[in-house]
């Protein structure tokens, strides 16, 4: 493969709105809230931006298509703006556009913005949407929890683990994220919960109960990226650098081929392989200090620990129960509460994950700060297990 973008792009400013049910805010308000923080953090004038990428997923429901929502909301100075969408990897896709533009030398400063305004639908859960004129003719009228619940049934069958035992490990995933969310001021859900609460919660899609599902939130997050040279010119000595940024969509294998067992996500494995190669990472368990993975549902995070190489096959439930992914564990996961508690405004999520890694690497994570983290990982799984887009990014603190 080509050399990739390792160490070619520095993040010099990030911002994130408070996530939650922002009844008082539209998408323009949320974007501005994130942007003002990022631009102050970067220490540059808005007019120095050369281009911007807007990531928003549920366009029919809220923000509307094209570059206009971002350009209008921030009154951007007549620069190229591109809207991107790639399911739950949308925010990461926006970052990819901005990072690639900088790495290519086309821009000195680029903005990646992700936003979603989900709480204008009038009902709980994610909006209903078409899957395509052909897919609608045959695919089940699924919901995200129902689609991800599939992982649990097949994981339990594949590894011969009893569902109550799997449920207990899944419950720990949520309990851990609520512990972290309680320490995160901008998070949507900030109350601690107990394993018993998780296990006794009403069923949403068997075997997922309410506490196995992430929040449905409004929010925006953004990053300003530049070259290491420009970062140095701005007086930075250490900067958060992109070490790898990879993205792999399904090609139909999981949906149509008998070979997929339904208990893992091949796209995550492929994206991780590519990202680890791009960053020169050999042992993720030893080298990754913090990670934000796509915990849309507790079972997703569990399966991902194996797909990303942090747990051996069939061992994720045990590693989880042993605390390997707790804030004080071997590979702290979702230190800001994750999708589960920080919230999941779809288009913003990839950038919100990067925001937490950025803050951890810079030592700005407050009560939940990890001891001297060096390398952070973010991961998105957009779509559903048999038809998805996976992204894996690695970020590290380097001298510029």
């Amino acid at each position: 493969m080509a050399t990739g973008i390792r160490d070619k792009v520095a993040i010099i400013g990030m911002g994130c709105s408070r996530f939650g049910e922002r009844w008082d805010c539209g998408p323009d308000d949320l974007m501005l809230e994130a942007f003002e923080e990022a631009v102050a953090d970067a220490g540059i004038e808005r007019d120095r931006l050369d281009a911007a990428w807007l990531g928003v997923f549920y366009d029919e429901q809220n923000v509307s298509k094209s570059a206009l929502p971002l350009s209008m909301a921030l009154r951007l100075p007549q620069i190229p703006v591109t809207r991107v969408e790639n399911l739950c990897a949308t925010g990461t896709e926006a970052l990819r556009g901005a990072a690639y533009a900088v790495a290519a030398g086309a821009c000195d400063f680029a903005l990646a913005m992700g936003v979603e305004k989900l709480k204008d639908t009038g009902f709980g859960g994610l909006p209903e949407r078409t899957k395509g004129t052909f897919e609608d003719l045959w695919q089940p009228g699924f919901t995200p929890p129902g689609a991800f619940a599939q992982l649990a049934a097949s994981y339990a069958a594949k590894h011969g683990i009893a569902m109550p035992d799997l449920k207990r490990a899944m419950a720990h995933v949520s309990v851990k994220s609520h512990d972290n969310g309680a320490l995160t001021p901008k998070a949507h859900l900030r109350k601690r919960i107990t394993e018993a609460q998780v296990l006794d919660a009403p069923m949403v899609a068997w075997p997922l109960g309410v506490f196995d599902c992430c929040g449905v939130s409004d929010g925006a997050a953004c990053a300003i990226v530049t070259t290491p040279e420009k970062a140095r010119e701005l007086g930075r000595r250490d900067a958060v650098m992109i070490k790898a940024l990879q993205l792999v969509p399904s090609n139909g294998y999981e949906l149509s081929h008998a070979g997929w067992d339904g208990a893992h996500t091949p796209t995550t494995r492929a994206a991780a392989r590519r990202a680890y190669a791009e960053a020169g990472l050999r042992d993720p368990r030893a080298e990754v200090s913090a990670m934000e993975v796509h915990d849309c549902f507790s079972i997703t995070e569990l399966v991902l620990m194996e797909d990303l190489g942090f747990s051996d096959a069939g061992r994720a439930p045990f590693d989880i129960l042993d605390g390997a992914y707790d804030r004080g564990g071997r590979n702290p996961c979702q230190t800001d509460g994750g999708l589960k508690c920080f919230g999941h405004p779809v288009g913003a999520s990839g950038l919100r994950m990067a925001y937490e890694i950025y803050n951890q690497l810079l030592g700005r994570a407050g009560e939940r700060q990890l001891a001297s983290p060096t390398l952070g990982l973010t991961h998105n799984l957009g779509g559903i297990p048999n038809r998805n887009v996976a992204s894996v990014c690695l970020f590290g603190l380097s001298q510029v």
Binding site: G122, F123, F142, Q150, S154, V204, A205
Partner: protein
């Protein structure tokens, strides 16, 4: 002589006990409180068309058995479409050849027997090919009406053949009479039904015996020699008709009223199927259809009857049952109770007809692809093979999957998704031949699905487009043993 070469049935699995109807509606109609037995009811995703497909598949289980079918007639008084050939959907779902003559028949409770008589007559012509007749009804009835208890939902398929078949036609007689014992105006949901005593005495007793006399004269058979008489009337009425026509009372076929109710224009054929399942070679079988006139057909059973087995048959269909204990859920399935299903039920189910046309073989005919180069079976069929080791272009032959079986690979019971019968159950299913389908399940109650469980595929309603009055159909995975 033309005859019947095959038959099959579809009785929806759900049954509503008449005592359940009585308990709910006895306050309005005291007679309902005395109801015995049970009636068959469609789930939300079954209608005349889906039952017709399943009945035809029961009669002709393999693609080989369907190969020679030249014509298919779909008789119903409750076709889902008034102007869109329901029979063409049926033919596509069955995978019949493009040159098949598909037509709908309708208009009375004789639609099924008349279609069969016509098909048998056509089979007498030189060069005639086998003709499939499918009769199905899903009649609605007002809550609290006698019809609500009397009616059932179901479908029957009969294959008419130029050869003698299992039962050879000896004679047929017909009578037309605008005897309005009931009617249903176009676009109206319910029948308007006249007094039962008048129907019996001025209808059955006056109109039927004369037609039967002429039939027996034509055939040169004495009525008393008939072994099985299909008279789709209430038992007491049928007994009196038998007496008037010279038939033995013992020859009267079971009306199945306590097991599934009167399934409409397919009901005489359903009773006929039940008869053929236990008839002996040489038996005479009388078939009567009644509805603004009379159809009367006389058959003689041949030796071939011993060799024929539908996939499942009438008796087995009747045996596979699940009691619907909720009267209000029955009403909701009939569209007679405006249940609040939440905003998710507002999802726009517009169908792109251009896409449905392009993909008709895949969707309506549930046909995937098999790669000629690597043998990989896949759904949906695509230009490029999905096997990562192959990925060749334009190497896939059509592979019909509707008759396949599979095993559940993953599933969920989704209480959040919209379903007219929550939860929505769906998952990934691995086909016996290889390949995977992400598909909705049918006929699984909560707690029944398990990873690894065998499934078969059934033709069902997938979505209803309430805005545009369209219904779209696809296949669903059902428990292998039950459907």
């Amino acid at each position: 002589m033309p005859g019947i070469a095959a038959f099959g049935a579809c009785i929806p699995r759900l049954r509503l006990a008449r005592s359940t109807i009585g308990a709910a509606m006895g306050w309005a109609n005291k007679a309902l409180a005395a109801g015995r037995g049970e009636r068959s009811i469609c789930s939300w995703d079954e209608d005349s068309l889906t039952m017709a497909v399943e009945a035809a598949r029961d009669a002709l289980p393999s693609m080989e058995t369907r190969a020679g079918v030249g014509q298919v007639t779909f008789a119903s008084t409750t076709h889902p479409f008034a102007d869109r050939s329901n029979a063409a959907v049926l033919a596509t779902a069955l995978g019949l050849a493009d040159g098949v003559h598909a037509q709908d028949a309708a208009g009375s409770q004789r639609a099924g027997t008349s279609a069969l008589a016509q098909s048998l007559a056509a089979c007498g012509a030189p060069g005639a090919r086998p003709t499939l007749v499918v009769a199905a009804d899903r009649r609605l009835a007002k809550p609290g009406s006698d019809q609500e208890a009397a009616y059932g939902h179901g479908a029957t398929a009969v294959l008419a053949t130029p050869g003698d078949g299992l039962a050879t036609l000896l004679a047929a007689r017909h009578a037309a009479a605008d005897f309005v014992d009931h009617y249903r105006a176009s676009g109206e949901p319910f029948d308007y039904t006249l007094e039962e005593r008048w129907t019996r005495e001025a209808g059955w007793f006056e109109l039927v015996p004369g037609t039967l006399r002429a039939l027996f004269e034509d055939a040169g058979v004495a009525p008393a020699d008939v072994h099985h008489a299909v008279i789709p009337a209430p038992a007491a009425t049928a007994r009196r008709v038998a007496g008037l026509a010279g038939l033995r009372e013992a020859a009267l076929a079971d009306t199945l009223s306590e097991r599934c109710g009167d399934t409409g224009c397919g009901h005489p054929l359903l009773m006929l199927g039940a008869v053929l399942e236990r008839a002996a070679p040489g038996d005479y079988v009388l078939l009567v259809g009644f509805g603004q006139g009379v159809d009367a057909l006389l058959f003689r059973v041949t030796d071939s009857v011993r060799g024929f087995r539908p996939r499942r048959g009438v008796e087995a269909c009747l045996a596979v049952r699940r009691e619907e204990t909720s009267y209000t859920r029955f009403l909701s399935h009939c569209g007679l109770l405006p249940v609040e299903f939440g905003m998710r039920a507002e999802r726009d189910n517009r169908t792109a007809m251009t896409v449905l046309w392009r993909k008709r073989e895949g969707i309506t005919g549930f046909t995937g692809g098999r790669c000629r180069d690597c043998g990989t079976v896949q759904f949906p069929r695509s230009r490029v093979c999905v096997n990562p080791e192959c990925r060749r272009t334009d190497t896939q032959d059509p592979q019909r999957l509707a008759e396949s079986t599979g095993r559940i690979k993953t599933f969920t019971e989704d209480w959040l998704a919209y379903s007219a019968r929550p939860p929505l159950v769906y998952g990934n299913v691995a086909f016996e031949e290889g390949g995977n389908a992400f598909i909705e399940f049918a006929d699984f109650e909560p707690g029944e699905a398990q990873v690894g469980m065998p499934v078969r595929f059934v033709f069902r309603l997938k979505d209803v487009d309430r805005v545009r009055g369209f219904r779209r159909y696809f296949w669903k995975a059902a428990p292998a043993g039950s459907a």
